[in-house]
Amino acid sequence: MPHSDLHKEKRKKNLAVLAMIGAFIAIIWAVTMIRIAGAS
């Protein structure tokens, strides 16, 4: 897929959204693991 100027302009923002989704998954995973382990 060719990279247009729009892709370049939005690169930082898209990476930030990716990081947020990654962080969300990591948090849910960590919370689930702690809950399963029985911590309050």
Binding site: E9, K13, A16, A39
Partner: protein, 301 residues
Amino acid sequence: MTSTLSQTSDLDIPESTVSDYYALLKPKVMSLVIFTGFAGMWVAPGFDQTHPLLAAVAMLSLAIGAGAAGAINMWFDRDIDAIMNRTKSRPIPMGKINPDEALTFGIVLSIFSVMLMGVAMNWVAAGILAFANLFYVLVYTMWLKRSTPQNIVIGGAAGAFPPMIGWAAITGDITLYPLIMFAIIFMWTPPHFWALSLFANEDYKRAKIPMMTVTAGAHKTKIQMIAYTLILLPITLAPWALGFENTLYGIVACILSGLFLISAIRVYKSNDEETDFREAKIMFGYSVFYLFALFLAIMLI
């Protein structure tokens, strides 16, 4: 494909950056919310047995929830924000963020914060967080702010919920102590905001927001400020009087609240515009320090 992309590039797409979205979350307000929320969590029985990561996630949920409400507030108030000097450099009036994107951002984060709080801690805390967000957006922002001089008195309740949320996150219920912390912030909010509106009065007039300073004038507002700081004093002493905190806390609270009252009296006594502005700014600055210091005393003493 190339022609489609070049057409898209020609569209008027705001040049938003990550920091613009961060500004949409009202980080200064968020810091106060996090701090008072953490204080509520800290004093709650059972905090020391709570997994640190769960406590951190609870704080994150609270911060995101507060930020989300701020983003929706900025979406709704974009017309008046553009008029007021204090707010005209916010991302939406500056044209950096599309209003629809700001609203979507706020709603998504709001739902996310409530879900996260519920999953990580409990649904009582999540419910209060959801209620606080809805109260801030629907009751304060959309209804009271533009319709009554009591806007920040009633609407101030939204900002008073964080210690309750922090407490409920640990215990799963609400007792007298978190209600006292709620009352402290509730009574602190009017003099804090009216100090701001005294030196930003022209802004509020231009935006036609019926702040007390606009509808009743500076003199009556100053009297109200003294009344609220007077009522606040015994409320801040309640944790000591009821045995939740020790005498040292009582002394610290008495000094801090006494100084807050003195600053309100100084504002009342100032009678020309220059000293009015100066004293109001001093009181506003002190009010922020006051709340941080008081909740620090609740936590540490």
